[in-house]
């Protein structure tokens, strides 16, 4: 493989320190200047056991997605690790405990079912830890030491990571962990001296700005703080809960408040109330909670009240697959309200966009006086990427409200039918500009009015207004050579990263293919999308849902019927699958 592109897995049982080990790999490699993308999977059940797997992809070029193939497996529990065998490359490196706490019979062991070509590195994790630090707790650090030595990663990077992780803890704990790591490192250096690898010796690491490890959820939380969020109202739900928990800690420090409400209906209700009163407020939820918000979201549309609603998608329908990823709430976000209830829907495709789009959403909600739905998904929320710390620009956090200036005497028309559809909005507390916001159809002055003409004109105004938001919404981005393309791949959300990786790989194989990133899902940029599809022989739209929800939304913009590539697996979209499909289509076209 050209340069560095290694996927490392740690697999164990809850309690083995699996997640911690994976995290330290991410930190160490990030400090080392590599690009890192990590994603963990936990057991679905609460109880303190079940399989934990961390996957870290480490490379010397930008990394946009995880792929299926794993090059290094660190097994803290052989029984659980057996489930990982299908994704291991033939010449995979496997570090495992040669004297595990739970012994399994030879023939049922991990080693027994591994491909013979696998490069095995047995180490007595527990014993080494016990010897070094007096306790087996450090097994996972011994394993990391082994990993650093075997794969040729700079041990100092790991020591840094360990220091950082345990600085809060007591010196003794820190020392114990360092000792365990060193014990593993030393053991492997000596024991495997003749088979040591150099997987991470990369000549030219891009010397970019200092990078931080951020998950999508943390990026969203930080964005809300930087955007000047004042109130967060929410109800716990996977995978959105971490946002609430992060803000519960940080927001009060900035004079704001987080209120755990009794349900999602009251959460969006309070967000609308606070926004009506002129403060920045938001809520975050997932499919089931989003469904409950439907009625009040349409109220925000009709009464023209701002609101920022984050929908962290998970497997559905209904309670579905709470700990799995999916992109199946697009229809609900765009079409999910009774009446002609259009609103703004945007979907970031990576951690950095999670930050910038969340920041932007508050201003959009204010300016266009509408609920803004930010769609993420479990994979995007929980994966970590090492990125330059995102910082909002002043113009992105600036107040988006447009206030009325009414010359004395003349009555204030809250719902004035302007050309843009945007009506200057007064905030309670502003003298002489009282009005009543209502979900009933109303006149420009906000009085209920069901007359045919008024409803037609007000419907037009609201529609016009949302379409007008296109001017402020991110345009689709093309990643393609000029001229005709044999295959164009359109991606959204977490799947776009996989799509782009696939397209780049296909291009390296000489195919004329391109990718289009769509982040504004409603309203969307018809012309730009048409411009791209018009030069594609075939348009491929991969989505993490069963029925192809983006296709049903924008399919009509394709010259010929777009080709869906749908997965309802609950897993991140593997770039290799998309690449295969691209090649298939390109060949078919070539014939």
């Amino acid at each position: 493989m050209p340069g560095v592109d290694v996927t490392v897995e740690v697999c164990g049982m809850a309690g083995d320190g699996t997640i911690a080990a994976g995290g330290m790999i991410n930190d160490a490699m990030s400090h080392g200047g590599f690009s890192v993308l990590g994603f963990d999977s936990y057991p679905a059940e609460i109880r303190g056991f079940g399989r934990c797997v961390t996957r870290s992809r480490v490379g010397d070029r930008e990394i946009r997605a995880l792929d299926e193939a794993t090059h290094v497996l660190i097994s803290l529990n052989d029984e659980e690790s057996k489930s990982r065998v299908p994704v291991l490359t033939r010449d995979c490196v496997v570090l495992f405990d040669s004297n595990p706490p739970v012994l399994v019979e030879e023939d049922r062991s991990l080693v027994a079912i591994l491909d013979p070509e696998t490069r095995l590195f047995p180490m007595p994790f527990g014993d080494l830890a016990a010897a070094a630090a007096g306790t087996q707790r450090g097994r996972n650090l011994v394993a990391l030491g082994g990993f650093a030595a075997v794969c040729g990663a700079d041990p100092e990077l790991f020591r840094e990571a360990i220091r950082a992780k345990f600085k809060a803890k007591s010196q003794s704990v820190l020392q114990a962990n360092l000792k365990s790591f060193d014990a593993g490192y030393a053991y492997a250096l000596e024991k495997f001296h003749d088979r040591l690898l150099t997987m991470f010796a990369s000549a030219d690491l891009p010397k970019g700005p200092e990078k931080v490890m951020l998950s999508g959820n943390m990026a969203i939380g930080k964005a809300a703080l930087d955007a000047g969020l004042k109130l967060y109202f929410g109800y716990p739900i996977t995978p959105a809960t971490p946002i609430m928990e992060y803000l519960a800690r940080e927001l009060p420090k900035r004079g704001g408040a987080v209120v755990q409400m009794e349900d999602e209906i009251s959460s969006i209700g309070a967000v609308l109330g606070a926004s009506y009163a002129g403060k920045r407020a938001m809520t975050a939820t997932s499919g089931p909670g989003f469904a409950l918000m439907t009625e009040l979201i349409t109220h925000g549309v009709m009464a023209e009240i701002p609101a920022v609603i984050l929908n962290a998608q998970r497997g559905g329908p209904s309670t579905g697959l709470p700990t799995k990823t999916e992109q199946s709430d697009l229809h609900a976000a765009v079409f999910g309200g009774p009446g002609d209830s259009y609103r703004i829907v945007i979907a970031p495709t990576n951690v950095t966009e999670c930050y910038y789009y969340t920041v932007k959403s508050f201003q959009l909600a204010e300016k266009y006086q509408t609920p803004v739905i930010v769609l993420t998904d479990f994979y995007l929320d929980n994966r970590v990427e090492n990125v330059p710390m995102p910082e909002a620009r002043e113009e992105d956090v600036r107040d988006g409200n447009i206030y009325p200036n009414v010359s004395a005497g003349e009555p204030y028309k809250r719902y004035l039918r302007t050309e843009s559809g945007i009506s200057p909005r007064s905030i309670p507390g502003q003298a002489g500009l009282q009005f009543t916001a209502t979900g009933l159809e109303h006149t420009e002055r906000g009085k209920p009015d069901y007359s045919a003409r008024n409803h037609m004109e007000m419907s037009a105004k609201r529609f016009r207004k949302i379409q007008g938001a296109l001017a402020d919404l991110p345009e689709p981005e093309e990643y393609a050579p000029d001229g005709p393309l044999s295959v164009g791949v359109i991606g959204w959300g977490s799947t776009f990263g996989s799509a782009l990786e696939a397209v780049l790989a296909a291009r390296e194989r000489g195919l004329r293919v391109g990718a289009l990133k769509i982040t504004s899902l409603y309203p969307y940029h018809e012309a730009a999308i048409r411009k791209f599809t018009s030069r594609c022989e075939e348009v491929l739209i991969p989505e993490l849902n069963y029925s192809g929800q983006l296709i049903s939304l924008i399919g009509r913009l394709c010259r010929k019927e777009a080709i869906p590539l749908n997965l309802a697996t609950g897993e991140p979209f593997p770039p290799s699958l998309i690449r295969k499909k691209i090649e298939e289509l390109a060949e078919a076209g070539a014939q």
């Binding site: 009251s266 009005f435 916001a437 209502t438």
Partner: protein, 265 residues
Amino acid sequence: MKTPGKVLADKVRAIGEAKIFEVRSESLPTWCPGCGYFGIHQGLNACIKELGMPLHKVVTVSGIGCAGRYPFFTRTYGLHTVHGRTLPVATGVKMANPDLTVFAVGGDGDGLAIGGGHLPHVARRNVNINYLLFDNSIYGLTKGQPSPSSPLGMTSKASPYGTLDKPLNATLMALTYGASFVARLFAGDPKGITNALLEGARHPGFSIFHIYTSCVTFDKSFKTWEHLKEWVHPLPKDHDPTDLRQAFDQVLQDDFSVGVIYKRG
């Protein structure tokens, strides 16, 4: 001779013109002539006047129903939300800007049926909102179905054979939820409403005003003015509103005593 419609129209105008409030909107309330809500309107308008609150610092939040129409009949800022969500939305308004005085108004269907899940929590949180529950024990706007506070056996188009469910007691519920200010009032006594509202509005925390009123159009037999006038009476002189146990006892033994029932010191 005039058409019935005309006669009613005049009646409403009369009711409107009888009292001049700066607080009420120029447009007349669209409530039926004789509706108990006019009395509540009168009581709240007077309270806002006496509080000396500038109208642009007052927000009236409502749900859906005849009661929910309230914001259109006042000159304060208004927020006419959806059915049953009066309290969560009012919570957002008040928390966003504590300088605002927030009145939340809604009917018994709005507050005890579809919105019944919010009252316990706004009470627990003790957000400084003043909630007026217009309890006419019927769904007025939808033309007369029974509500959670309708009496057993009440007949209506929706309950032709009489209702089977025991009515809920909003005052008792408020006490149970730990509301810090609880008053039970009567729409026929605007002055009493004004006084309780003044006290509650000044109380730093959630205040609920459970107001008995009558739907003259769809309830011809149960909670009529005649009956309410006969049933309702003041709290005993010696009632101590700072004593929670006394408040419970009072409410458990008497459904129709009105006044400030509980007030946390």
